[in-house]
């Protein structure tokens, strides 16, 4: 398997990567359209208040699917780094040694942390004043249509696995 990956031309990884990304985005768009359509035609609430913690598929199955998708995303990322060695360099070294490159990466990280902080503060505030936090909408989606929610979670974790911790 490792030999096969090493002998595969770099451009094929690029094609596979782009195809995988486009496929993920198409599935994600399908999940969103399906969710919006379900909300549009609903005559009553799609879930309880507060939403149930369980859906039509067991939690352990959902977690297992998400873990599998994350590992799959990481495997794709690992295969990609075989043909792009510069991705394995640490920030501040060789291909990423230019200070401007360091600034771009750190700024992206700062923005990501700012977004996370804002979401955490929003969740705390909404729970404090008794408004549904974002997590309740996720739970509601899982209760209303567990397979679609699981598909969305799977795609999300696949993309997270693709981009988090590029293997060296």
């Amino acid at each position: 398997m490792v030999a096969l990956i090493k002998n595969t031309p770099a451009h094929r990884y690029m094609i596979a990567s782009v195809v995988g990304l486009v496929a993920s985005l198409i599935v994600l768009a399908y999940v969103l359209v399906k969710a919006v359509y379900a909300i549009g035609i609903a005559n009553a609430g799609l879930c309880h208040d507060p939403p149930s913690l369980t859906g039509s598929i067991s939690q352990i199955t959902v977690v297992a699917v998400c873990v599998a998708c994350f590992v799959a995303g990481h495997a794709v990322s690992w295969a990609g780094t075989r043909s792009r060695s510069e991705l394995r360099d640490k920030l501040g070294q060789t291909a990423w040694s230019a200070r401007r490159a360091v600034i771009v990466v750190k700024t992206a990280l700062a923005l990501f942390l700012a977004l996370l902080s804002a979401l955490m503060a929003l969740e705390a505030l909404m729970l404090l004043v008794g408004i549904w936090p974002i997590t309740y909408y996720v739970r509601c989606a899982a209760e209303a249509n567990t397979p679609i929610a699981m598909l969305g979670a799977g795609i999300f974790t696949f993309l997270a696995g693709r981009w988090f911790w590029i293997p060296r």
Partner: protein, 109 residues
């Protein structure tokens, strides 16, 4: 500098614990506030680092001519636990990510 950030982070967590113990906030809110304390402190650290790097680029200054960066206190940096973590950072990131998901799944309702 690094010591100040650690003190700030633990002070924020202590405030959250006190707020829960005195019944001012419920546990669900506390988990998000504790996570907020961590991410916002990391945001502060990263943003400051970006500013120092930007100063470097803008002024072409040497390392000792720009503001000091945040770093771990020397005693902590030399400790066994930090060395142990640094040697295993690649795998620890995965383990902590997984542990965080499981912890959130079990208690973050």
């Amino acid at each position: 500098m690094g010591r100040a950030l650690l003190i700030l982070l633990f002070a924020e967590w202590a405030l959250v614990v006190i707020a829960v113990a005195t019944g001012r906030i419920i546990g669900d809110v506390a988990w998000f506030l504790a996570a907020f304390a961590l991410t916002s402190t990391l945001f502060l650290l990263t943003s400051y680092d970006v500013v120092v790097d930007a100063l470097h680029v803008a002024t072409n200054a040497d390392d000792d001519e720009v503001p000091e960066r945040f770093s771990l206190p020397p005693q902590l940096a030399r400790s066994q636990i930090v060395k142990w973590a640094q040697q295993r950072e690649k795998h620890l990131a995965w383990v902590l990510f997984g542990a965080g998901i499981v912890a959130g799944h079990l208690w973050w309702h």
